[in-house]
């Protein structure tokens, strides 16, 4: 069974020679425009990060400057390299948080999709309401609750609230319902596999592409999260990058904002995300039913 794991299917043979397609002008233009819209800010950050402090506001916005290495060195030197600590914290929160939340989503989604039990739809309904509820609203109540058990300003205070992701469970349920046919589960039961083994050895591999999606969503969400750590943490040694950069921007009125450091820091902050996407992207090429029963 386990051989059904992630063997990306060979690229499908092109379906018979096609007539040379006409370029669909309008959609292409729309897509190009969209890409431009998304990429211009990134280009701005890249260009601004290369500018030395005195070039930042005085040279043409999208022209490269000469200060990238100095900026990185300054950032590295700022308060003994606290930036890298923030980066490591972000990686910890996002990596561990996304992995745990992914596991919870997989279990929850699978259970909701495969088992019939009383209250199933009610639980799902509650979770759906959770999808509609912005996490921002929950941050303060969560803070007050965690303060009761003395967990604020602790790594757990940022990890615990992200464990349960309604959207992740919702996605996992939809995905499990589509990717794990009940025939397969039944067959495994006939073969004498226990429920846990069925989940682990049969269903999990089939759900993998969906779980990768959930992992990435959660990772990006936690990586970019600001309000939750802002409320939970007061010790700047535990800050994730978003909070750390924010403190660089707001140093009080009598000291200038450290623009070049913040911009360089923002550029470096997206590098891990880009790397992660490039690395995990290939799992997405699996189509929904790869390896399952063929009808």
């Amino acid at each position: 069974m386990t051989t059904a794991r992630v063997t990306p299917q060979a690229p499908q043979a092109p379906p018979a020679p096609r007539a040379p397609r006409r370029v669909a002008l309008l959609p292409t233009a729309a897509l190009l425009l969209g890409a431009l819209y998304c990429l211009v800010p990134v280009v701005w950050v890249v260009m601004a990060a290369t500018k030395a402090g005195d070039e930042l506001f005085s040279t043409f916005t999208l022209a490269p400057g000469t200060g990238l290495l100095t900026n990185i060195a300054d950032l590295n030197a700022y308060r003994d390299g606290v930036y890298w600590r923030w980066m490591a914290n972000s990686a910890l929160y996002a990596g561990v948080g996304a992995a745990l939340s992914c596991a919870v989503s997989a279990l929850g989604g699978y259970a909701l999709a495969v088992y019939r039990f009383a209250g199933r739809e009610a639980i799902f309904g509650v979770l759906l309401t959770g999808v509609l509820m912005p996490p921002v609203i929950l941050a303060v109540p969560q803070y007050l609750l965690l303060a009761e058990v003395d967990l604020t300003d602790h790594y757990l205070s940022v990890l615990l609230p992200v464990l349960l992701s309604p959207y992740g469970i919702y996605l996992a349920r939809i995905y499990a319902a589509a990717a794990v046919p009940s025939d397969v589960v039944e067959a495994a039961r006939m073969d004498g596999a226990g429920e846990w083994r069925i989940f682990r050895a049969v269903a999990l591999p089939m759900m993998l592409p969906g779980l990768v999606t959930i992992f990435l969503f959660q990772f990006v969400a936690i990586w970019n999260n600001f309000l939750l750590p802002f409320i939970m943490l007061s010790d700047d040694e535990k800050f994730p990058m978003t909070l750390g950069l924010y403190t660089l921007l707001n140093q009080g009125s009598n000291s200038p904002a450290l623009y070049t450091l913040v911009i360089t820091g923002s550029l470096l902050a997206i590098v891990p995300l880009v790397a992660l996407f490039l690395l995990i992207q290939r799992f997405w090429s699996l189509d929904l039913l790869s390896g399952a029963v063929k009808s």
């Binding site: 402090g53 005195d54 506001f57 005085s58 916005t61 308060r79 303060v140 803070y143 007050l144 303060a147 009761e148 604020t152 300003d153 802002f230 409320i231 007061s234 010790d235 700047d236 909070l243 924010y246 403190t247 921007l249 707001n250 140093q251 009080g252 009125s253 009598n254 000291s255 200038p256 904002a257 623009y259």
Partner: protein
């Protein structure tokens, strides 16, 4: 999260002033060194606190660097509701009433010993909120001043204005001399600047009388300031675009704007906004409403406050007093953090003997600054400064953009502030 306690709590906090001080005995002694946490944003604060920790093994202070601004006030109030506030917190003057009315700050008048005479009365009054209680110790202050391009003033043949009337004439003269150049801009994106200008004109926006607050944002003094700037904007004598934008930085750097009404910390801002212009700026007193006067307002500045959550109030007050009155601490704050100290003696201390690096052409920079600081008008803040500032940003940005009616914008700010206070249960008299 903004749950404000009502007048009752505020009055309780204000009137039980003397009693509250006695209640906090921390004993401590036998269980080893006292640990205090301190939320602060001033750069270099860790190094300054290090001096204290070395000299005081019994009272160890840990700085937790925070981001400055209104968000920190909200964050502190939330933490206090959960009983998790730090022992000490850096707070801007205008945030004190908000923190006090949310029952975050402790009255430390009982533990203090002779700190009052170290500060100018105008600053001290801001940490007492006009009561017998003391809610914080002043740390730095931001007396306002007039900054101008000395070289370009000479080139255009301009005199440094000493009154606001002359300021208006200078603004017009600049427009006549060069149609692409402005004396300065009216910026609506930082209400603190306008509040400072109003203080200089004699405004007292909030005053408390027993259980009743009196709000006077739309008073005669403030209206005078609003109409003055509104007139200049309307006739295009000053620009109507916000400061701190890339465009403003560029205009300051290239000389398209010749002057900036700012505060004592301006050299730091100018050195990043306009790095090419080092040595060509000069500082002068703010233009006056009355000829020959020496009045100025405050823009910025902060305090060290002790919270109700702290278990070791006496130790916290001892540290706060050292930080803001001890010559060694203040010298370190000046050199490490670049602050302008609130304590009067330190304003002429050794650390401020030379001018800031950006103003080497003006060797007596800090001596003049200390003279100007003497004339700092008292400021009086209320429990919803953030609401008033938000309303200011919206109303005045729109009025400046459309070169519209500044007096009407001021009335809008006043109304929004009063409405907010009433909806939170404060008694307001107008």
């Amino acid at each position: 999260m903004h749950q404000r306690t009502t007048v009752a709590a505020l009055t309780a906090a204000l009137t039980t002033a003397a009693l509250a001080g006695c209640g906090s005995s921390d004993g401590g002694g036998s269980d080893g060194p006292v640990d205090l946490t301190y939320w602060a944003w001033a750069p270099g604060m860790e190094q300054v606190v290090e001096l204290w920790n070395e000299a005081n093994p019994d009272i160890q202070v840990t700085v937790k660097e925070q981001a400055a601004g209104d968000d920190l006030v909200t964050r502190t109030i939330t933490a206090a509701q959960a009983g998790e506030a730090p022992d000490l917190v850096q707070a801007e003057y205008q945030a004190l009433p908000t923190l006090v009315s949310n029952d975050v700050l402790a009255d430390i008048s009982g533990e203090l010993d002779g700190a009052e005479e170290q500060f100018a009365p105008g600053l001290w009054q801001q940490v007492t909120l006009g009561t017998d209680a003391v809610y914080a110790l002043p740390q730095d202050s931001g007396p306002m001043m007039f900054y101008y391009r000395e070289d370009l003033f000479a080139e255009y043949g301009l005199e440094v204005p000493t009154t606001w009337e002359e300021f208006a004439d200078t603004a017009r003269a600049v427009r006549d001399a060069d149609p692409d150049t402005y004396l300065t801009t009216f910026s609506a994106n930082d209400a603190g600047l306008f509040a400072g200008l109003a203080q200089q004109a004699g405004a007292r926006w909030w005053t408390a009388d027993g259980e009743t607050w009196r709000v006077a944002i739309d008073d005669e003094a403030t209206r005078r300031v609003a109409e003055f700037w509104g007139g200049l904007v309307a006739e295009d004598a000053v620009l109507n675009e916000p400061m701190y934008t890339p465009a403003w930085n560029q205009a300051i750097n290239t000389g398209e704007q010749l002057a900036w009404v700012s505060a004592v910390w301006a050299p730091g801002t100018l050195s990043t906004a306009a790095p090419d212009t080092a040595g060509s700026w000069a500082m002068a007193p703010l233009p006056q409403w009355e000829e020959g006067g020496n009045a100025t307002g405050s823009w910025g500045g902060s305090t060290t406050a002790v919270t109700n959550d702290g278990q070791h109030r006496e130790a916290a007050v001892e540290f706060a007093t050292w930080l803001n009155t001890d010559p060694e601490a203040l010298a370190a704050l000046v050199t490490e953090g670049g602050i302008y100290p609130a304590a009067t003696a330190a304003q002429t201390g050794d650390a401020l003997a030379g001018p800031p690096a950006f103003f080497e052409n003006q060797p007596d920079f800090y001596a003049r600054a200390a003279e100007i600081a003497q004339g700092t008008a008292p400021a009086s803040w209320g429990p919803n400064v953030n609401v008033a500032y938000g309303a200011f940003n919206d109303a005045f940005a729109a009025a400046a953009e459309s070169r519209g009616d500044f007096a009407e914008a001021l009335a809008t700010v006043h109304r929004a502030t009063v409405d907010d206070m009433e909806s939170h249960g404060f008694q307001v008299a107008e």
